[in-house]
Each structure stands twice: as structure tokens, then as C-alpha cells.
Symmetry: C2
Subunit: 119 residues, 2 copies
């Protein structure tokens, strides 16, 4: 069974691989969530606080989608109060250079923009 969304054809060769990746980490939250998971295992509410403005509904939805894509792992502990920890799967790990490239470029650009704003 393929993990590719059925509705997509990825027939725009040779741009496809770029589109395929953006499909998985694009959107408003997924890239940032993966970024936060790069170095730590994080619990639901902690992640929620780190992302600041995300709603619980959206966070749950994004996490389900990342899990379905095989990029993150969800571990539930049978405790009271409940504890659920999210971490990168090996596939998610493999995205590290990509996420870091996005981060590096974004940092440079944000610095450049605030520089310009100061002039």
C-alpha cells in the first residue's frame, strides 16, 4: 500500500520530488512541529505551549497526519494523568537536513529583513 495521497498524481516531472516533500512538511504547522521534535521527545501540552498560538484541535490533527505519513512516533503511557510523547521516527529523522536548511535560510532572511527595517 502506498502512503501517497490517492488524489495526487505527481506527474509534473521533474518537479515532483519537491512537491512531494512540500506536501508532507508544508502547511502552517508541520514544519515547525518537526523542527521542535528534532532534538527532543515532547508531550502534547508542551508542544502546544511551544507553538504558542495553535489550537488543540489543530495540533491533534497535524500530529495525526505526521504520524500517518510515518514521520513521527506517538507513544502512550498508561498512567493517570495520561502521558503521550511524540518523537521523530527514523523517516522523520531523515528530514533533519531539510528542516535545518529551512531554518538556516529563514534565519538569514529574518536577519536581513530586520536589518533593512532598521535603516
Amino acid at each position: 500500500m502506498s502512503l501517497l495521497p490517492k488524489r495526487k498524481r505527481y506527474d509534473c516531472a521533474p518537479g515532483c520530488p519537491v512537491e512531494a516533500t512540500l506536501d508532507l512538511i508544508g502547511g502552517k504547522w508541520k514544519g515547525v512541529i518537526l523542527y521542535h521534535l528534532l532534538d527532543e521527545t515532547i508531550r502534547f501540552n508542551t508542544l502546544s505551549r511551544r507553538l504558542g498560538s495553535i489550537t488543540q484541535r489543530m495540533l491533534a490533527k497535524q500530529l495525526r497526519e505526521l504520524e500517518a505519513a510515518g514521520l513521527i512516533r506517538r507513544v502512550v503511557f498508561a498512567e493517570v494523568p495520561p502521558r503521550v510523547e511524540y518523537s521523530l521516527s527514523p523517516d522523520g529523522e531523515s528530514l533533519r537536513p531539510v528542516i535545518l536548511a529551512l531554518k538556516a535560510w529563514g534565519e538569514t532572511r529574518l536577519a536581513m529583513l530586520s536589518q533593512q527595517a532598521a535603516e
Copy 2:
């Protein structure tokens, strides 16, 4: 004046740079458009054909946004029939490693998925 969209606050430090980058190259088409412009200057209709399923309306809109973000250049030739060429600006050029990272990861993943599908 800042090129940052006014409605965004980028206050989710330290995830912001990732979000900022994804804001610019995310969505369904921008990353792929930049990818196609990586090695060539391309005309409107050519780009349209290469992307396959994009509508003229969407292509025009994405190109305007990329131009407004300072990532591409638009050069109009005073000819009949009209000719408009799009190419990467220096800022867009600086995205090259990012786009290539997206491409490399996507290629690996697509290969992996088709491998699995064959089993």
C-alpha cells in the same frame, strides 16, 4: 518597510525561521516554480506547460507573490507577441540549497514508496 506579512507575528521562537521559510515557498506551487527556475529563465507559457496542471490564474498569482517576496525577477520585452521572462533573483538564488534539499529528500521517499508498493 518590512516584507513580512503584517498579520504574522513569528513569535513562536525558536521555530520561527522554519515557519518564515515555509510561508514563502510552501503552498502547492511556489517550491516547484522555484525549482524549475533554478537553472533557466523561463517564459510564462513554458512554465505553465512544465507545471502541467496549473491554471493561468494560479500561475500568475504565484509569480506575483514570488516577485513581491523578492525571490524572482520578471522581465517584460516590448515585442509583439509579448514576451515575459521569469528568473531567480539573487535572493531566490540563495534558496537553491533549500530547494535541492527538498528535492533530494522527495526523490528518496518516492523511490522508497514505489519500492514498498512493488513488494
